[in-house]
Symmetry: D2
Subunit: 107 residues, 4 copies
């Protein structure tokens, strides 16, 4: 984990963590898209429900892994930068991150 | 991927619950596939992490709803039919269904 | 709290699956109660947040395991019995079970 | 179980976020302990499985809310303080927090 320097302008997303791993995220999301298409074929072909459910669980886990990676990058970069800068912006960023965590935990 | 082999005769699948709602499942899965593509665009365009995470949560919920629907159909049809028939087949079907539930709850 | 009214005759409960494993369930629930007390001590003693969170995750997993066990027993007994009996009672039991599964998956 | 040893001096814990809401956390954890006892009574009295499962879901949600509160306090205080201080300690704190989030999301 590298820390974005505090003076990075945030107009351009250069400081956003996921950019460093952008290709990796895209690869994982394309695989997830492929899983969604695979599920459609299974339903078309009237595959056994339990086999379809196994695929849905695998796809859900893959999505969760993407979410946890993005969250990790976000905290390491945006939240930390905001914390270093301080002030109400820092509080807002933390609130936003913890709200996103709550949505993930509950979904 | 646990795909039933292509040459297995799935005549008994005519009674599978999800077939009755096949078009509805396909529609929902196509929408989920679209969400996976939308996420790729968001990463490509370097959208804000939190907005991407919000989409991931929405997609996870949509997948869960598909899983719960399939499970409902499966219990209402396959498990009930096996229960009525009785014997070791019934026990095996119940074990298989509760294992799938456990995977869903834990994913 | 949705408690069955005290005066309802639950003679048919003799067939409830969890009764066979009643002592085991009670043992696990007492351990979970102990975890809840342990968490209070950790907060009292101002233990490190992350250590408390680790305990909360362990307790959540223990609760989930109890829920999955109860659900398994319920499907194997009540739902199957209702399925064999057939009629609207069977449908109601299945609906009730799948609603409980949905609550578990979403909690 | 990762319990901090009882004799570790936790002076720096004076800054821990949850202390500000300590009484509130203790109240919620006592209520959760009460739910664990209520579940034992329900099993003892052989209440209907589905009603027990409803209580388990409620208890799981209450635990999750405690976890999310602790995590929020932890990020707002420990993680932010470490971020401001910078250095390897900051990275370690962030890694520790994101690991705890992953455990919560997966539990």
């Amino acid at each position: 984990m590298t820390m974005a320097s505090a003076d990075t302008p945030h107009d351009e997303h250069a400081g956003h963590g996921y950019i460093s791993g952008k290709d990796e995220y895209l690869k994982r999301l394309r695989r997830i898209e492929g899983q969604a298409r695979g599920l459609q074929r299974m339903v078309e072909d009237e595959k056994y429900c339990i086999d379809i459910l196994t695929q849905v669980s695998a796809m859900t886990k893959a999505l969760q892994a993407v979410a946890l990676g993005l969250l990790d990058d976000h905290i390491s970069h945006c939240v930390v930068d905001a914390a270093v800068a301080g002030g109400p912006e820092a509080e807002a960023k933390i609130k936003e991150a913890t709200d996103a965590i709550a949505r993930l935990v509950r979904s």
